[in-house]
């Protein structure tokens, strides 16, 4: 299967590569030919209005939703059609929208579901150390988000999909989360696809940003362009995010 609109770089140089993805729910198409490339050790922001298919794209990447056509490559390996758990074992991790913690499990039990908990987790999230035996459902939103990210990192993934991590969090917590994510990327060379509506978080973490509109990638720009164009009524942020 040769992706039509993929850039002319050899596939193995990319960490995450989506080629001409079509997907949807039942008869309703949501993604209509999405192609996107994320290089190793970089963070790509994915922005777009509600209902444009950002979460659908995440679910296509991690295998929870089948594609109608198109392919997903993880570190050069074709993963389209593999069961979700296999894709996860191949190095794709997800922090789902709304976090989806196991509220009845303790923090340690949540963290350990993917495998033995690496010690770095507690370096990155020292705030979790005193909470290890608390039930996840009793934590604050920010603490829960740390557990969700830590849980996804426990299997030492190659690619992390973050679906709206800022949702429901205070600005200060979002700021701290941005700093931690940046540090993790620098520490272990993680590749991140960050689905966000929160511009400051994307600016803090991502190196470039893609805009999803009407089921395709409408535009892709370096983060500097995004920052420069924030006040520009003709810029990408206004074109793709304002109503």
């Amino acid at each position: 299967m040769t992706p039509r609109s993929a850039p002319c770089i050899s596939a193995t140089d990319q960490m995450l590569e989506l080629a001409d993805i079509h997907a949807g729910y039942g008869q309703v198409p949501v993604l209509r030919g999405v192609s996107l490339v994320v290089e190793p050790g970089t963070v790509m922001g994915l922005m777009g209005r509600n209902g444009m298919g950002k979460t659908t794209l995440c679910n296509v990447c991690n295998g929870l939703l089948a594609t109608a056509s198109g392919s997903v490559r993880l570190d050069g390996h074709l993963v389209t059609g593999n069961p979700a758990f296999e894709i996860a074992q191949q190095g794709m991790a997800t922090v789902p929208q709304g976090r989806d913690l196991f509220e009845d499990f303790t923090v340690d039990e949540n963290l350990g579901l993917g495998g033995p908990v690496p010690v770095e987790i507690y370096d990155w999230f020292p705030g979790l150390v005193p909470l290890r035996n608390r039930l996840a459902g009793t934590l604050s939103g920010g603490e829960q988000q740390m557990v969700a990210i830590g849980r996804a990192l426990a299997r030492k993934p190659k690619v992390l999909l973050l679906d709206e991590p800022s949702e429901g969090l205070q600005p200060s917590v979002i700021h701290d989360m941005g700093a931690v994510l940046r540090r993790i990327v620098d520490d272990v060379g993680l590749t991140i696809l960050l689905v966000e509506q929160h511009v400051e978080l994307v600016q803090a973490v991502a190196g470039s940003v893609a805009f999803l509109a009407d089921g395709v990638i409408a535009e892709q720009v370096p983060i500097a362009v995004l920052s420069d164009s924030l006040n520009d009524n003709e810029g990408p942020v206004h074109r793709h995010l304002s109503i």
């Binding site: 991690n62 929870l64 979700a84 758990f85 074992q89 991790a93 997800t94 196991f102 499990f105 579901l113």
Partner: protein
Amino acid sequence: MIEAFPIFLDALSFVLILVLVASGLVIVFGMMGIINLAHGELFLLGAYTVVVAQGFGAPFWLAAALAPIVVGVAGLAIEFLLVRFVVHRPLDTILATWGLSIVIKQLVVLAFGPGSHSVAVPIDGAFSVGEFSYPAYRIVLMIVATAVIAGAGYVLVGTRFGLLARAVIARPGTSASLGINTGRVTQVSFAIGAALAGLAGALVAPLISVDPQMGLGFLVPAFLAILVGGAGSMTGLVAGGGLVGGLDSVLGGWISPVLAQITVFVLAILVIRLRPGGLFPGRGRRP
């Protein structure tokens, strides 16, 4: 006082048998949410495993050890060939497993005839203290049942497999994206539930007449015990089984057994209706 003791022991052994039969169902129905109407027939297969093994001259305890293996493998096959295709359609799961129960029953009728078989009680004699005596096998059965129930509870609460099983039940999609092989976990859980039913059938076989229709008589009280206690936890089951089985047994000696069963069923339905989470709601499925 000494007269009341056998009544108490009868009730206790009946409760333990009921909880043992239902313990497999707690995993499959209470936790996985799979309504397996063929559970009674898995119990039946356990009892017939003993009948067959004894026919070959195997000692009872070997036969009883064989039963959970045989029925567990049958459970794996059932999950692989039937349940996984309907598990996302809960009401169709009820129907498909009901069809399965008919098929198993008829296969048993074809292989062993419609009549009943008896299994010799493996431990003769009675256990006696002073004037009081009680059949030894029933005492042994109670001890074994308690150990099995406790073991099943430990697997669910205290082991990594139990943790994974509970995770898969609560959030299958999230579990899969954490790298947990959800299909495998469901399959193994179903097989463990089946093996427990088979073990129950083998252990109870010496006390009852083994015939192709014996499954339904245990299926309904087992479901009621789970729902009364609160689906999804072994503690809930022990409580529910204690109430349903204990009341049935005590009332059965007092008024007629049929009237006792009617009373217990009606009371159980009332409890389920008024407290849908059961008397001791667990962490598992909610209605």
